[in-house]
Amino acid sequence: MNIFRSMAYKATAFVLTAVLGSAGLVSGLLIFMAHGVGCYETDTGNYFDTKHFENTMNGHAYDALSNYDMLVRPKGEAYTPSAAPADPAEAETGLEGPLEPESADSADITPETESEGPLEPESADSADITSETGSEGQAETPPVSANGEKTATAAARQSQGDEMPNHVTPSAEEQRHAAETSNFAYEITLAGAPGDVLAFNYKPRSRENETEFKINNWSGWQDGEYKADGVAYVVRIWLDETLPAYDQFAMDKQGFDLFYPWRYRLILYAAGALLAALLLFIGLLVGAGRRPGREEAVLNPLDRTPLEVYLGLVALALFMLAELWDKGLDGIAGNMFDMRHLNDLGFSAAGAGALLCALVMVATAFCMGLSARLKEGKWWRRTLVFKVLNLLWRGLRLIPIMWKGVALLCALQLANLLIVAAITERHSVPAVFLYLIFNLALLMAVCYLGMGLAKLKDAGKKLAAGDLAFRTDGKWLKLDFLEHAENLNAIGQGMAAAVEQRMRGERMKTELITNVSHDLKTPITSIVNYVDLLGQEELTDKAREYVEVLERQARRLSKLTSDLVEASKASTGNMPLETHSVGIRELVEQALGEYGERLAERSLEAVAIMPEDEVYALADGRHLWRIMDNLLSNVCKYSMPGTRVYANVAKDGQFVKITVSNISNERLDVSPDELTERFVRGDAARSAEGSGLGLNIARSLTELQKGVFNITVDGDLFKASVSLPAA
């Protein structure tokens, strides 16, 4: 395949294709010529024996008749009998001379042709023809011989119908021209009146070398007569076999005589050359648009032009070639194809070859261009039509949807108006149908638009509600709707990706914290143990004091690590949740009971303000205890000794609210929001015990149970509230 891509192949193959192709075509033309154009086999090598010859005769007769018909009888024009005698009389003057010997001439033909020297090989055939014509002639002879009857038949015809054939006589100039350009002389007579010549092209100079024919074998002809409108015509044609005029017939015969001996060889040449050219051509098509080492199709500048321009250029080239060909045939452009010059094998053959060569080149280049375009794919992109439509389309897209809508509506209303006008003005029934169909279509379009809008609205709603996995199905949507749907999908996708990433990050963080604290526990265990053991040794007072610090801090470290795990798990919701109906009053009582001792130690008085009847909330008891544990632990740590601690339980609409409030021992210089952040504590010094995670865990756990955790600070009054959904 790579060889077809190379420039060398393409150049060589292109030239060879043109040369071989044109040579094959020329050979093909010559085959026709060698077989007498019609390609009918003739074994005799006699041109007058070919089917083409017969066709030529018929053609001449037909031309003569139609010519006569056109000249004499314009359609619809009535024939005036009175004019008839005048015309023949006039014609007779011109015809009289040659006409008279005619009857004798027909008898003359046979001996004359036989006596002809150069035509001697044809004698047998011409005898055939003549015998045929003879028989026809015999049929006609009776009226001819009985001259009196001729006029009678004419008169009979005259009386029969009012249309009578007219006589046409060409001028002397016309006759001379006809004699120069055609070897065939003809005359038209009525059947049964051979002497009355209706029309002729020229009178033969002499009857020597001439053969007379009567047309027989042609559609519409019967028994040598052509019947039209009830009138039977007879056409006689004389051929001067010396072919003094150089007409098409002479050319054909010359070609035939020249190439007849090559008639079989030419087939071989033509087939060989064309086959070779075809193979090369296929190779060129394969290689077209391909370059060595390039995967994609590469188009040359000509192939990049719009297809219409390209086709125009090709058509122009073909047109010019055709013109040249015509001119060549006409002999104006230097008698390019003049067969008289074929003998010196010069200009004409070269001219024909060159033209065909050019034709093949143009055709091959055209096919290669098409092949390259197809290989590139999307060939329609390189058409003017596409470009214009594309431009229009893009322009349409640029127009804001509102203006598009306005324009469309205006157009629709105008169309509707026109239809209505047609109905009222013309009472046209089709217009009524049109109106109905039109408005039905309009209704459907509106429904479609509504559906699109509903779909988009639905998608927007889903997205807003947090259903990030929702994707709008753009299957039935078009244009702006589709664009909008795609945008919505992109938003959903982007948000889902962001959320997913955040979740993964959180999970990894939790995992990391869990692992780290787990690994911390082993060394902490040793520290706690050995500090304890150290405390059991005999120590100085100072050393004992230091050991106590170690002990306290080791315990804090231990608490911190476990709190850290819990905080991270609670904030990511990575812990089991078993919600059921929990008695809040019971729970607060239990919690206060648990803390009874410690509160008493700090001289704190717990005051529980609770409803008489139990209130239930939907929560996880253990998590709720952990929240209370943290809150009360904070209370014990930070409350001013000797103050009261209030635990309040109240039903608040759909929520059950637990509030724990106390008076802070130290000034609270941190905002409530910050207090629930991790590692933030009310005292900046961080001297007291605690991890600073208690409130954070409490908030996370509350939120995990779909509750609301809130902290308010009013001076030294610290208030933490937990609202949980009521059961």
Binding site: H518, K521, T522, I524, T525, S526, I527, V528, N529, Y530, D532, L533, A554, S558, S562, P576, V582, G583, I584, E586, L587, E589, Q590, A591, L592, G593, E594, G596, E597, A608, A619, G621, R622, L624, W625
Partner: protein
Amino acid sequence: MYNILVCDDDRDIVNALKIYLSAEGYNTFEAYTGREALEVAGREDIHLILMDVMMPEMDGIAATLRLRERHNIPIILLTAKSEDTDKVLGLNTGADDYVTKPFNPLELQARVRSQLRRYTKLGGMTASEGSEGRLAVGGVELDDKAKRVSVDGEEVALTPTEFAILRLLLGTPGKVFSTGEIYERVSGGDSAFASRSAVAVHIRHLREKIEINPSEPRYLKVVWGQGYKIERLGAATGGGK
């Protein structure tokens, strides 16, 4: 003289444990992997095993499973994991108790003592069994006639209110009694109860007396938001031969 096998991959922890256990008068053996623990347990006459969960070669859970194929000795798991699921897994594989790291030496000593006492002295007793007036769950025994309560064979001094509450709870192990219920059933107009809310305080005290670690009770459990109950324990957890 009891032989205790201490198994942990951290030598410092093993040493510290040996010091604590020796101070209590126990004879100690050491192992640093689950496999070594199996060897020592097969070779020596071991009465109790302290086993770390996370160890190389063979972890504590796997070692416990293997040990349970032959031995009935108490196994206490030492674990850095404090997840509920880990505890359940540990107990289900046949461990008798667990201690989370970092542990309190006193708590550890208490648990060891408790397990040994039940392993060597007590038979498998449950609440339904026993003579009249005697209630028992696990290592907790209550003699209503003598007004005495013992945990793992060791007598515990309770106030009359605490005794009454424990008697009520032990009467139907597994049943959850709310604070109000306990108050009505126990107080009977008794002056010891200042208010209903005092029940929770009494329970807390009771837990401190009968539990080794009141925050993680074995017997008297808090059902948050509902009340309190005595865990219904099977004979297996009751320990003993």
